[in-house]
């Protein structure tokens, strides 16, 4: 069933949630403390996925399951690569549901978009802090 009337809502995210969504120490450790590289990675993900929440909302409204599955899969990978267990887990759950042919409720779509927005906001914050 199409999840209608969805809007990205990053303003609603609290700072505490932002800081917990990416395990920065793990990420720095994974890349041997190369801060510049981690920053480059964060910028790259921001560039590639800036429009992801809006795109996801559109696909949900259009009930474009193929696009939804592709985006869920892609964001699952990003979450895994950037040490975000929350994004990885939420995206994985969504992808599995779509593969199994299950319907995505408006609430589930909004919840996922919210996680993506928090994730992107945390990347932005990290970039600003340096």
């Amino acid at each position: 069933m199409p999840a209608k009337d969805m809007q990205p809502s990053v303003e609603a995210t609290s700072p505490a949630t932002l800081q917990s969504i990416i395990d920065w120490p793990l990420l720095h450790d994974r890349f041997n403390g190369k801060h510049d590289f981690v920053r480059k990675l964060a910028i790259s993900v921001l560039d590639s996925h800036q429009g992801a929440p809006a795109k996801f909302c559109r696909a949900a409204q259009d009930d474009d399951r193929e696009a939804l599955q592709f985006m869920a899969h892609s964001l699952k990978g990003v979450g895994g690569s950037l040490g975000s267990a929350t994004l990885h887990g939420t995206a994985k759950e969504l992808e599995e549901k779509l593969i199994a042919g299950g319907s995505i409720t408006k609430e589930a779509a909004e919840s996922f978009v919210s996680v993506v927005e928090i994730f992107l906001a945390e990347l932005r914050r990290h970039e600003e802090v340096g």
């Binding site: 690569s81 950037l82 599995e96």
Partner: protein
Amino acid sequence: MDAAPHILIVDDERANQLILEEMLSDQCLPHSVNNGVEALQYLRTAPRVDLILLDVMMPEMDGFETCRQIKADEGLSEIPLLFLTGLEGPANEELGLSLGAEDFIRKPFSPSVVFARVRNNLELASARRRLRDRNQELEILVSERTRDLLNEKQQVIAVQGLTITALCALAEMRDNETGNHIRRTQNYVQVLAERLRNHPRFNSELNDETIQLLFKSAPLHDIGKVGIPDAILLKPGALNSEEWAVMMRHAEYGHDALAQAAREFGQPIGFLRYAQEIAYCHHEKWDGTGYPQALVGDAIPLSGRLMAVADVYDALISKRVYKPAFPHAKAISMIVEGRGSHFDPDIVDAVIECEAQFLEIARRYQDRLG
């Protein structure tokens, strides 16, 4: 060629490209493209790619189709290909490996695990290349050695032929019998051997190789006559009993000379074995009244029994100082008379079956008149 391996990263996620490039760039030369179409274009134009890291879910062309096309391309199929994907479930892994991928790594991946698998697959590919190169070298070596051996074998065969020709020429110079006698008898022996090769009594001994050896050694049957004094060998009239006793020794002389040659060579030589048998036994008779050993029946080597029939038939149809040349029919009749006494009965039967061929051989190699 630079030593660092060239790695092609195929992934539509720039972050994944960056991570892999960062991870590999210390020891490899990574190059990233965004999907299967770009990967195939790059692979077909890049001078070198040593390993491919391939995502599955990508726009334009997915990883499975990309893998299928790479593995179907003879020029690319040997490049190790590792899937690197977030797809879950064993079915995807099974599909990836069944398409020819060397490995299947799941995302999120541990950089050290990916690096280890990349290194292992590069080493494996390198070992496979070395093995293939070594196999090619060995194939060339084997082919060269085989050619050398064939050349050597041909030389040995040629030397055998020359030796037989020289020995026969010596024997002919001292005998009234002609060179055509040698050619006729060796052909009779061959025809008889071919006729009998499927006979239950002879099929274990007669085959292509032994028939060829019989053909080559038959001309040496009277080589021992070289040791018989001219006064006896070239005597125009009939021999007395003492002279005949000396003449009979040619079988022994021939055998001994060939046996000594074989001994000095130090290893068995097929044609010398047959030549010895033929020289020694072609005057033996089936009923044991022949010479020099008075062997009976199957105790006479097959080669000697074949030669006996061929030699007598040729003597019968040839003119001698002590007799005229008999017609073929009479010669055959006399051979048949000797069935079971002078000759092996089955060989006589073969002569009858091969009469036309005997006549043709006699015609082709007939002696000049006068």
